[in-house]
Symmetry: C2
Subunit: 402 residues, 2 copies
Amino acid sequence: MARVDSALYHQKGGGLFRILGEMTAKTQEKYPGRPIVKLGVGDVTLPLAPAILEALHAAVDEQGVKASFHGYTGNVKKLVDGIVEKDYAQRGVTISPKEIYVTDGSSAEIYNITDIFASDSEVLVPDPAYPAYVDVNSMLGRKIHYVPCLEENGFIPQPPDYKVDIVYLCSPNNPTGATMTKDDLAKWVAYAKANGAVIVMDSAYESFVMDESLPKTIYEVEGARECAVEIRSFSKTAGFTGMRCSYIVIPTDVMIDADDGKKVSLRSMYVKKRGVRSCNPSYVVQMGAAGYYTEAGHAQCMENTRYYLNNGKVVRKVLQEAGVPCIGGDNSPYIWMKCPGGMGSWEFLEILLDRYGVVMTPGAGFGPSGEGFMRISCFGDADETKRGIEYVAALCKEIEGK
Amino acid sequence: MARVDSALYHQKGGGLFRILGEMTAKTQEKYPGRPIVKLGVGDVTLPLAPAILEALHAAVDEQGVKASFHGYTGNVKKLVDGIVEKDYAQRGVTISPKEIYVTDGSSAEIYNITDIFASDSEVLVPDPAYPAYVDVNSMLGRKIHYVPCLEENGFIPQPPDYKVDIVYLCSPNNPTGATMTKDDLAKWVAYAKANGAVIVMDSAYESFVMDESLPKTIYEVEGARECAVEIRSFSKTAGFTGMRCSYIVIPTDVMIDADDGKKVSLRSMYVKKRGVRSCNPSYVVQMGAAGYYTEAGHAQCMENTRYYLNNGKVVRKVLQEAGVPCIGGDNSPYIWMKCPGGMGSWEFLEILLDRYGVVMTPGAGFGPSGEGFMRISCFGDADETKRGIEYVAALCKEIEGK
């Protein structure tokens, strides 16, 4: 008799954005005429850059001619060359093309890398964090350790005094917007090397780092090649949430233990598993992503990034003027604000939605330490974002009795 | 200390097409001037149909305008409507849009569905079969039962007299080209229902079925809705090997056991797992696939299918005239031929490659019962296919001493 996997069956959670969607729909039903202001889901709203559109059209044309048609496609060389040169070599980091695997999204890759490890691996997750880190591991029945990211240390996770096997990090952070310095990352590299742990570095928001003193990749830290994989995405960098393209870097130096006492390269196990899945994204999509690495493509995408960062500036300014504590938004597309009057995240959202039709993501959905906070996405339309955050500020002032 | 999963670490096999690639490269080095004739890997060679190109260009254009831009995308309605109507309703089968999940390729989906089941599930795989069925399950450390598909029953798998939890079927078959009748499928549906097993029906080659008396989907068999999921792909149907689009049908009626004695719908567990992976393919790719369901798109794709089937006719004719036993190629894009003189698959390939530079896939790579056979792909260029198969026939005659 076919049976469901027990860990998957009993897994709770997931569905943060589903619940958010359901609440939004209910509000729309209650106030049919009133528009919803979306500051919730981190989904881009600006169209693709002209250079990327051009690359996509050209790739579609190639697929229409027998001589240039591409069937099964691995990594597209043009894309990988761009990654190696622009994302790494220009930061003084040497990554070989064979250490890069192009994939169809960060979320899928967070999942794909996870079950290469022994099922009883212990996992460390910053709290709050992107829910997928917990979801994919709890589906495998693994023990999860939360490292609280607190106000007093700027929401930056600090290495603990116990051992784990896998560490998830995300900088610039989702949901807090906090960005780790090279020293912050160095502490984790030291921890990983001392404990034989592997760091899964989620760098989905790297392109929002404007402060030149901040690292753009964990490989700027010495020793990271021996203990870290890095996942990057074109979702926010190039507006690809609907296009699906990301990549993972697995340095050949990352070695893990096998049950026969041998050391085995993580990359070789990844390749073995990937070999049965053929999950390279579409040739056309990869060629579109390669458009990001052209001079025009990069400049156009950076213009979009600045548009979103400008939303962040506006949000911070309005909140700060209203006396609402918040961080993020300068080197990241998310702002993390404290709910007024010691209110809980979901409670505040309910009032905000009902009163003004504004959606933000409850911090509690990202982990226990997120309770009492809200995540504001800066990926919306500028006018809508300004209107929404002004409602938020007004409500905060009202609740605080200011 | 991070450790690799033991089942993955010890898993053997995989790499059939990698080995084939390496052998081909060696031959090319040995005979640098001589062209290689590719009858090995099942990869399409004709360009995309004009209606699909048009749909792709239009979708790219949509992504360039803020008002029509698509970020995170689930199932594209136009595509799912096409599937429901053209692939099912027109065959008299009712499938609801909510039972369909669009994905980025059959291989990925064979993997994704697999680990929803308990890790100690027992699995039945026809022998020979597409290697992924064995690979994904052996990576999970599962017991695999092989059902030999023999010449005497036309290479059609027959239900065994023992129980398993998961059954893989593929019709038209890869590698043998054998196509199951409705009665053949009905035997398996009866077996699955009697034993509480779930059938994973791989219908990647459904569009090659020309014989109107043959089923196009397992849901033409009564009761299949309660025990079967069906995976279909645009890879061969619409030339999408490089575009990546497929779908899986999971009827709401398929129930499996949970460890607390309850029954749970397979679909709900699939949705839960999928929720953390967001693996819908690109909006642009889905819109391209929707182009297949237009009248023009379908006609153009069928023209390509007939081109490949005509390769099959030529291959069969040449082999039959040379007295080489073979099946498939009439309702399928693969032909399964017996090696001459009782020769083993790899041995025959070595001679064929060295003498004529022709690549075919050794039957032994698809399972123990494949030994002594070769799989011929009909997805190549017509002239090249004819030239290649004439070499094969000549070699067979020589070995047989005819």
